[in-house]
């Protein structure tokens, strides 16, 4: 009797979700031009409200749920009229990087190793945070991979965010935390501050950080600028500035640029006035950009019992990945 019980293994738990319900494979199995997903379930480099370590899993679940509402191969993208592509054609979920709490070097290298492997092979790393510090190791690996793949290539950088994250140090957290990620990225060898652009910054920022960015040629579009210019024009200018003399774009999506009235499930909420529609329009404006790598960070499910934050964030991924996940309609389409 006991033997029968121990040999019978019913599916008691749901298997882990993969982003967009794509295949779960090793980073080495990702083909050039495909999206390679790297989870970064770490929030111990955040200084206040935690919970983003549950972000990757929430994004995987939310994209899978939304994907199920858009049957692959038969549904139209409502804005482009293109049909959805099968996730396995364009995306591989490589699982999570090994996070070592309280060892920033080990965590950084673990994440960077995965994004580097993807970038070297010509794939596009998509890193799922985690707090925003993890954007640095994700970009570090991408930068290393780009240097190996194309030694003379340079990349531009756009960060959609409520905050600059350009501090050199943050109190007890030192030099590697969610307020310093952009500063650390600016120190990488194949990016220049003059090709770095921030979009959606709101409220008060440190004058020293702002001056340092602007004196070196970087550009900052505040939330007010987005309202005044309009989303299409703001992101057009941002992309043009970031790509001057560059071959690829690295995009860091911090969901907290969206007004907290809509999106409360994030560590450092702001009242930017940027609505979901505006945020999606910004990402639509980058959907055809020459993406070399990207990350989406600061999704904190425990801070939003309504779960709307993770679905708003999942829709961001649907927007920015449009050219990967849709194809032109070439034959008859059967509605389901």
């Amino acid at each position: 009797m006991t033997a029968a019980i121990t040999t019978f293994l019913p599916p008691l738990a749901q298997p882990g979700y993969r982003l967009f319900d794509g295949p779960l494979l090793d980073a080495a199995d990702v083909r050039p031009g495909q999206i390679g997903v790297v989870g970064m379930p770490s929030d111990w480099t955040h200084s206040s409200r935690l919970g983003t370590r549950f972000g990757p899993e929430a994004l995987r679940k939310a994209t899978t749920v939304l994907q199920s509402m858009r049957p692959q191969g038969v549904s139209f993208d409502p804005d482009t009229g293109q049909r959805s592509a099968t996730a396995s054609d364009w995306l591989v979920d490589c699982g999570d990087a090994v996070i070592t709490p309280e060892d920033v070097d080990a965590t950084t290298e673990a994440i960077a190793a995965m994004t580097e492997a993807l970038s070297v092979g010509g794939a596009i790393p998509l890193a799922l945070g985690g707090d925003h510090y993890n954007s640095f190791p994700a970009c570090l690996g991408y930068s290393r991979g780009l240097a190996k793949r194309a030694p003379n290539a340079r990349f531009g950088y756009i960060q959609i965010d409520g905050h600059l994250d350009f501090s050199d140090r943050l109190g007890a957290w030192g030099s590697h935390n969610h307020a310093t990620n952009a500063r650390r990225i600016s120190e990488l060898p194949n990016v220049d501050v003059s090709n770095m652009v921030w979009v959606g910054i709101t409220g008060w920022v440190d004058s020293g950080e702002l001056a340092l960015i602007e004196e070196q040629g970087g550009r900052v579009f505040s939330a007010g600028d987005v309202h005044k210019l309009g989303t299409a024009e703001a992101i057009r200018q941002a992309l043009e500035h970031a790509m001057k003399g560059c071959d690829e774009l690295y995009l860091s999506i911090d969901i907290d640029a969206m007004d907290a009235g809509y999106l409360p499930g994030t560590g450092s909420i702001v009242h930017s006035g940027i609505t979901p529609r505006q945020y999606y329009d910004l990402l639509d404006g980058l959907a055809e950009a020459p993406l070399g790598g990207l990350d989406i960070v600061e999704v904190s499910p425990p801070l939003d019992p309504s779960e709307r934050t993770e679905f708003l964030a999942a829709e961001m991924l649907f927007r920015i990945l449009r050219r990967f996940r849709t194809q032109p309609v070439t034959g008859a389409v059967t509605e389901q």
Partner: protein, 291 residues
């Protein structure tokens, strides 16, 4: 005196509004902004929890204290590209603590006495409520005062109402903010004290989420900020925050309501202290580059 001398951790230590200095009420000076908590709620409120609002507002305000952090240089308003001097915060903002619990009569008497003393000292009271019923008590200590009410249910037709909750007796809200501002200038009598009631219900409910009296058609944050900036340029005797329930079932972690209120309240505080776009001693951001 800095609002705080150690950069972090910001969640530890004695909790005062924006880490401001604490004072006894007798030490409040002319020109001060004196914060006083009123942690009481109505027993017939739809949800328990309003009494937790003063603490929630103070906790949230600590997030906004970063500008006093010595690791940063001066803050810049990113939209206006304007440096903000915060010296006045260190000198004039103070926290008096909370009204002590007791019998209902004793609580009302204590609030009334506090309002009188702060007003007599020439300071502006910032009350962190709590039940909206306490507003009447504070107002009663200001004879012949005029009242501006943001949100909430209109109680007196002589008051100036901004986005009130509909109660069937008021006229529809005038959506033209410029016209309303002109109407306010006409209504205001500078010879009388000014009392401001700031209820969370002034915000569109889809933004606030933590209000016991939800409503459609409220204001966005930018509109409320504009009003509080305008009011901050007047000699306000007291502003009272009400309507926040940080403990609404299932919503305790969201904190959007208190952040909306504190963000808007800061516009009032900065205007009272003379900060902002027209601040004469402003600096350009280049003067404070970290090295």
């Amino acid at each position: 005196m800095p609002l705080r001398s150690a950069p972090l951790p910001r969640m530890a230590g004695h909790l005062s509004f924006m880490r401001s200095q604490t004072k006894a009420i007798g030490d409040v000076r002319s020109g001060d902004l004196a914060v006083l908590g009123i942690p009481f709620e109505d027993t017939n409120a739809p949800h328990a929890g309003q009494s937790l609002a003063p603490r929630a507002l103070r906790e949230t305000s600590v997030y906004f204290g970063w500008h006093a952090n010595p690791q940063f240089s001066h803050p810049v308003d990113i939209d206006a590209r304007q440096d903000i001097s915060t010296d006045g915060l260190h000198e004039r903002l103070c926290d008096l603590g909370d009204i002590a619990p007791g019998s209902e009569d004793a609580i009302h008497a204590a609030l009334k006495a506090a309002m009188r003393q702060i007003s007599d000292n020439g300071a502006c009271a910032i009350f962190l409520g709590g039940s909206d019923r306490m507003s009447e008590t504070a107002r009663s200590a200001l004879p012949h005062c005029q009242t501006v009410q943001l949100g909430g249910t209109p109680a007196d037709a002589r008051d100036f109402h901004i986005a009130p909750l509909p109660n069937g007796t008021t006229t529809p809200v005038n959506r033209d903010t410029a016209a309303q501002r002109a109407a306010f200038s006409e209504w205001r009598d500078p010879s009388k004290p000014l009392f401001v009631r700031f209820d969370l219900s002034v915000f569109e409910t889809s933004l606030s989420a933590l209000c016991d009296r939800p409503r459609l058609g409220g204001c966005d944050l930018a509109t409320v900020v504009q009003w509080l900036e305008l009011l901050g340029r007047h000699e306000v005797s007291a502003i009272m925050l009400t309507g926040l329930n940080p403990n609404r079932p299932g919503m305790g972690v969201v904190k959007v309501g208190q952040r909306l209120m504190v963000t808007a309240l800061l516009a009032f505080i900065y205007a009272r202290l003379g900060f902002g776009i027209d601040f004469p001693r402003r600096q350009t951001s280049k003067e404070k580059v970290l090295t």
